[in-house]
């Protein structure tokens, strides 16, 4: 049985197919959650954002045309919601980053202290929104530069600059 592509599922959602929508959610909730959680920093707001993203996707489904990959299309919705979240003046509390209790064991050979990881997480929360989003899309969403540019409605050069500045700021936490 052929597995339908994301674009085919999305077209089915546009025709009112509930099961297709369920499939879309199961396939894409993981990275949507990673991006939202790292960007916002707390579980409740991240859940709301992910839910909002999928419901907006559903609302836009009748108008969806597969001109770009679905993942890129969805990332645009997530990015916009993340930036809107900041614009509504919901400050990210760096303390929220210390809430979660599940630091999975690091792969063998990666020598990183938990203190450094916590410092980097706190620093991410303090980055300007655009830098934060670019860094998170790159390293938590594993998007390419081009995909990040589409998601953030900017150019590839701008993404390179955002990533360079973001990494520079984060790198200073490792120097200290």
């Amino acid at each position: 049985m052929r597995i339908p592509s994301d674009e085919e599922l999305m077209l089915a959602v546009g025709r009112g197919d509930e099961q297709a929508f369920g499939q879309i959610v199961l396939r894409h909730q993981a990275y949507a959650w990673r991006i939202a959680y790292r960007f916002i920093g707390n579980r409740e707001d991240a859940e709301d954002l992910v839910q909002d993203a999928f419901l907006r996707l559903l609302a836009a489904a009748p108008r969806y045309r597969p001109t770009a990959s679905f993942r890129t299309y969805f990332s645009r919705i997530i990015s916009r919601l993340c930036l809107d979240h900041i614009q509504k003046k919901r400050p990210i509390s760096a303390d929220h980053l210390l809430e979660f209790e599940d630091p999975s064991p690091l792969p063998d050979g990666v020598i990183v202290s938990e203190e450094q990881t916590s410092a980097v997480r706190r620093c991410i929360a303090l980055l300007p929104p655009n830098q934060r989003l670019a860094v998170i899309l790159r390293y938590y969403g594993e998007y390419s530069y081009q995909e990040i540019a589409i998601a953030m409605d900017t150019t590839k050069k701008a993404v390179e600059r955002l990533l360079a500045r973001g990494r520079e700021a984060l790198g200073r936490t490792l120097k200290d």
Binding site: G22, V25, R38, V120, Y140, A164, R167, L174
Partner: protein, 172 residues
């Protein structure tokens, strides 16, 4: 390539975003520059931290809740199909910041242009009023276009004409 340019390329080098030639140039430089090697190591460590950073698992019931909401939304669409034909009216709060800024700029420019146009029309009207008023108060204006009619009796013009005309009618 200068040292500064090479140093600035380290981020792109880590991401393998440079051309093959530049990758080779940076690699050669790294063999001899300890500062850049340390900087590269720092960037690689940061990238490693970011990639390996643990995120809590997706809440187990999140997909179920989203699908349930979606089902209600779809039911609403099916029961009231016309609702989906109505264009989505964005509230001010739901607009992105750049859209709100653009709308504000358009409003301000429109009001400014409209005000300026209104003022210029108003001034033209006033000028006309001034011209008409000037003409009415100017006693000589009545002669502007009618050079061949007789001057009014007792007028300054008649007096001047009388004084400047010799008695023999021929001139001095």
């Amino acid at each position: 390539m200068t040292y500064d340019r090479l140093h600035n390329k380290l981020n792109a080098y880590v991401d393998h975003k440079l051309s093959a030639k530049l990758m080779e140039e940076v690699a050669l430089h790294l063999r001899t520059c300890e500062d850049c090697r340390k900087e590269l190591a720092r960037i690689e460590k940061l990238v490693s931290i970011l990639k390996e950073d643990a995120i809590p698992d997706v809440p187990p019931d999140l997909a179920v809740r989203i699908v349930a909401h979606g089902r209600r939304q779809l039911s609403g669409r099916i029961a009231h199909p016309r609702r989906w034909l109505v264009p989505h009216i964005y509230t001010w709060d739901s607009m992105p910041g750049y859209v709100r800024a653009a709308a504000a700029v358009v409003l301000i420019v429109g009001l400014t242009v409209g005000t300026l146009l209104g003022l210029s029309v108003s001034h033209e009207g006033n000028d006309q009023n001034v011209t008409i008023a000037t003409q009415e108060s100017d006693p000589v204006a009545v002669f502007n276009l009618d050079y061949f009619s007789d001057t009014p009796s007792g007028s300054l013009t008649q007096i001047y004409a009388a004084l400047s005309t010799p008695q023999n009618g021929v001139g001095r």
